[in-house]
């Protein structure tokens, strides 16, 4: 399933990128020379140059951006994300965005919602033009469909969390998958519902796909839609839409499920599944690192940056934020613990992993963006 559109790096790249040619171009490697002649000839597969080929407005505050990367781009599985690198005022910023279209399409596409506090998402929504060049990573992430697709699947999306799920549904339906597919989709209201028309059209075309929209705000236009936040009724209602699932719904045998969206939605779905004892059946994808738990009495101490020989008082935020505020420029990427760009050696002290809650003691490589210092910490930074 979710087969690759292209299977490998283009032929000339494999010919040029050989040990002998790279030895002649030492220590920079041949790619660093090629990209000077034409940026699209770059051989760097961590920052693949991609031209913007089209920008489509999805809602008032979201756009879909179609990309044409160079031959380093290989393939992706529906549900995966890419890191997008954008240069603004000489600084590179990167964020992760899910690919939002079928894995059978040649050009990858992302859909970006303009969060009012999101610097990059705002830039992509308002400043980016067709023909611009940005850089992307290869597809990453394990929020993907299993190799053996089960006969029934349930997707739960909230807001821009629809993006990886749209790619999965698109891919399944394009592949003429015959099993039952159900989507329970939360948006603020009818106007902010990304891919509404596309999903309604798919629901009409494919009998095995049923769609239940829920609007969290009161909306008179929402004829068939439910309102409010996720609960068990919504879950059961969504499943009962498809006649094939009625029997299963009654016995509470919930199909393999995927949830993506805001933290509150994911937490609500997770606790519901835990209650039903179906934790194993749920895959979830978060777009933001879980927020740092406020610690009482545990913060404090000093953070020592060994290489730059400076020190700050720990204020309990992530090490990345504190290092940046101390005037350091550590490498950073997704800022949510995924890309490992900010990986750094902690020489002493304890930190708490914000997403998992795990505590790391002593000398260890940590990701600054999701590490919350507990007392004195020293970093090789």
């Amino acid at each position: 399933m979710s087969r690759a559109t292209t299977t490998a790096r283009s032929a000339w790249r494999r010919i040029v990128d050989t040990p002998l040619i790279n030895a002649l171009a030492a220590p920079h490697g041949i790619g660093r020379y090629l990209e000077v002649i034409n940026p699209m000839w770059s051989l760097d597969n961590t920052r693949i140059p991609a031209r913007i080929t089209s920008i489509t407005r999805e809602t008032d505050d979201s756009v879909s951006i179609e990309l044409s990367p160079n031959g380093e781009w290989t393939h992706f599985q529906a549900g995966q994300f890419i890191q997008v690198h954008v240069e603004i005022d000489g600084r590179q910023h990167n964020r992760c965005y899910s690919l939002s279209r079928s894995a059978y399409t040649r050009k990858p596409r992302i859909t970006v919602k303009d969060h009012h506090d999101g610097f990059i998402s705002h830039y992509l929504n308002t400043q980016l033009k067709v023909g611009d060049r940005i850089a992307i990573s290869l597809a990453q992430g394990d929020f993907v469909l299993p190799a053996q697709i089960p006969t029934a699947l349930l997707f739960i999306a909230g807001g821009s969390g629809i993006t990886p799920i749209m790619a999965m549904i698109d891919t399944l339906l394009e592949h003429q998958h015959s099993g039952v597919i159900t989507l329970l989709y939360y948006s603020r209201d009818c106007n902010s519902c990304i891919f509404r028309e596309r999903l309604e059209e798919l629901a009409l075309q494919h009998l095995n796909f049923s769609l239940l929209m829920v609007y969290s705000r009161n909306d008179s236009q929402a004829k068939h839609a439910l309102q409010g936040h996720f609960n068990q009724q919504h879950l059961l209602k969504a499943l009962s839409l498809n006649p094939a699932l009625v029997e299963q719904t009654r016995s509470l045998t919930i199909p393999l499920s995927y949830v993506c969206g805001p933290e509150q939605l994911i937490n609500a779905v997770q606790s519901e599944y835990e209650l039903l004892g179906l934790k194993d059946k749920l895959h979830s994808e978060r777009f933001k690192a879980a927020t740092a738990v406020h610690l009482h009495g545990e913060a404090g101490g000093d953070i020592a940056f060994n290489q730059s020989q400076s020190m700050v008082t720990n204020d309990g935020r992530s090490l990345l934020e504190q290092a940046e505020d101390a005037g350091l420029s550590p490498q950073s990427g997704c800022r949510m613990g995924i890309c490992h760009t900010c990986s750094c050696l902690k020489t002493s002290g304890s930190v708490r992993n914000i997403s998992t809650g795990e505590i790391s003691h002593g000398e260890e490589h940590i990701r600054l963006c999701i590490s919350q210092p507990l007392g004195d910490v020293s970093l090789s930074l």
């Binding site: 030895a23 920052r47 240069e87 000489g90 600084r91 420029s329």
Partner: protein, 374 residues
């Protein structure tokens, strides 16, 4: 030598004024700096490729091949252009690009191509080792005897306070050798081969760094003296010689710039105790007295990696170096205000002063000569 001393309060306010110049430059970093480094890198890569092509393009003109193209003038023109061009490309890569990037001047861009952690330069020294010996030791303990191993590179006597020994009679010869093989000198600098000789470190302690340096040397020399010459088949020696000339041009130039930055006559050295509990103001003051600028045009500054602004470089090692020229105006104003000497001069006079020192200090001290303390 007379030494104007500042009171603790004066040092503090001096430090604040210098710090303000730095803060202003840091807050202005942006597109201009990013475009600058990208353009220099693009030019450097283009020059390196075209110079190498020029060396091969010279070969068919070699009269001894008996081809219709035979022409000595064309052969010499292309081979010289190629060697000199490649030498300049290496100078740009090592100085304006490599030295400045490895200092972390462009880390804020968040682009791995220009980040100190990832950049490697076209010379024998592994950039990681250099970041330690240069960024840390030399820039923190600038001109402090016994701490800054850049004083004489463990081979030369560059300061009267270094105890004389008969081997220093060879100072001029050692300096000439260091100049011609400066790439190797830099590569072995952080390995501390001198500490090995004096017994301060065992071979076991030295080996990991030595191995890394030799590996990098094999990579760079293998490229210039085996792989590229091999592409010329039987004309191997010609390409090898052309590449050797390029490397020597780079070595002589980098040696010259670096020695002119710290060793002209009026530059001060310091005893070890000054860096204990040192204030920011005194640190700036020491950097100022321990460095010397070289005057020149814009092209000269770029070719020297802006180390011609050695004073500004030592005050602001992590500010993008192309900004030093404009910052120098402000620094001089502050120096005038506090009556602190600002050592600057044309290349020839600074260089003559360095060589005079190399010869003079080869001989044992006559009478009493003491180092200057701040």
């Amino acid at each position: 030598m007379k030494q104007h001393t500042l009171s603790a309060e004066q040092l503090d306010s001096f430090g604040e004024e210098i710090g303000a110049i730095k803060q202003q430059a840091l807050s202005q970093r942006g597109t201009r700096d990013a475009n600058y480094i990208k353009r220099i890198v693009a030019f450097q890569r283009g020059l390196a490729i075209s110079s190498r092509i020029s060396i091969y393009a010279a070969l068919p003109f070699l009269p001894s091949l008996g081809l219709a193209l035979a022409s000595w003038p064309m052969f010499w023109l292309l081979i010289c252009a190629g060697s000199i061009g490649l030498g300049i490309a290496k100078i740009l890569d090592n100085m304006e690009i490599g030295h400045n990037i490895i200092h972390g001047q462009y880390d804020w861009m968040g682009d791995p191509r220009f980040h100190s952690k990832f950049y490697d330069w076209d010379t024998n020294c592994p950039s990681e080792q250099w970041a330690h010996s240069h960024n840390y030791e030399h820039h923190t303990y600038t001109n402090i005897l016994g701490k800054d191993r850049d004083i004489g590179y463990g081979i030369l006597r560059m300061d009267p306070a270094q105890k004389w020994h008969p081997t220093y009679l060879g100072n001029p010869i050692h300096a000439t050798l260091l100049m011609l093989f400066f790439d190797m000198g830099v590569a072995l600098h952080d390995v501390e081969v001198d500490s090995l000789r004096s017994g301060r470190k065992t071979f076991r302690e030295t080996w990991p760094k030595l191995k890394q340096s030799l590996g990098k040397t094999a990579q760079i020399w293998g490229k210039d003296f085996i792989l590229f010459p091999a592409l010329a088949g039987p004309l191997f020696p010609i390409v090898m010689a052309a590449n050797a000339v390029a490397n020597i041009i780079r070595n002589i130039w980098t040696f010259t710039i670096i020695f002119c930055g710290h060793f002209p006559a009026e530059v001060h050295t310091f005893p070890a105790h000054v860096c204990e509990n040192e204030t920011q103001g005194h640190w700036y003051y020491r950097q100022l007295l321990g460095s010397a600028n070289i005057e020149g045009g814009k092209l000269f500054h770029i070719m020297s990696g802006n180390l011609s602004h050695q004073i500004e470089h030592h005050l602001f090692p992590d500010v993008p170096a192309h900004r030093y020229a404009e910052m120098a105006l402000e620094v001089r104003k502050v120096c005038n205000k506090y009556d602190i000497p600002y050592n600057t001069g044309p290349l020839w006079s600074q260089y003559a002063s360095v060589w005079a020192k190399i010869f003079k200090l080869a001989l044992p001290p006559r009478g009493s000569q003491t180092s200057i303390t701040a």
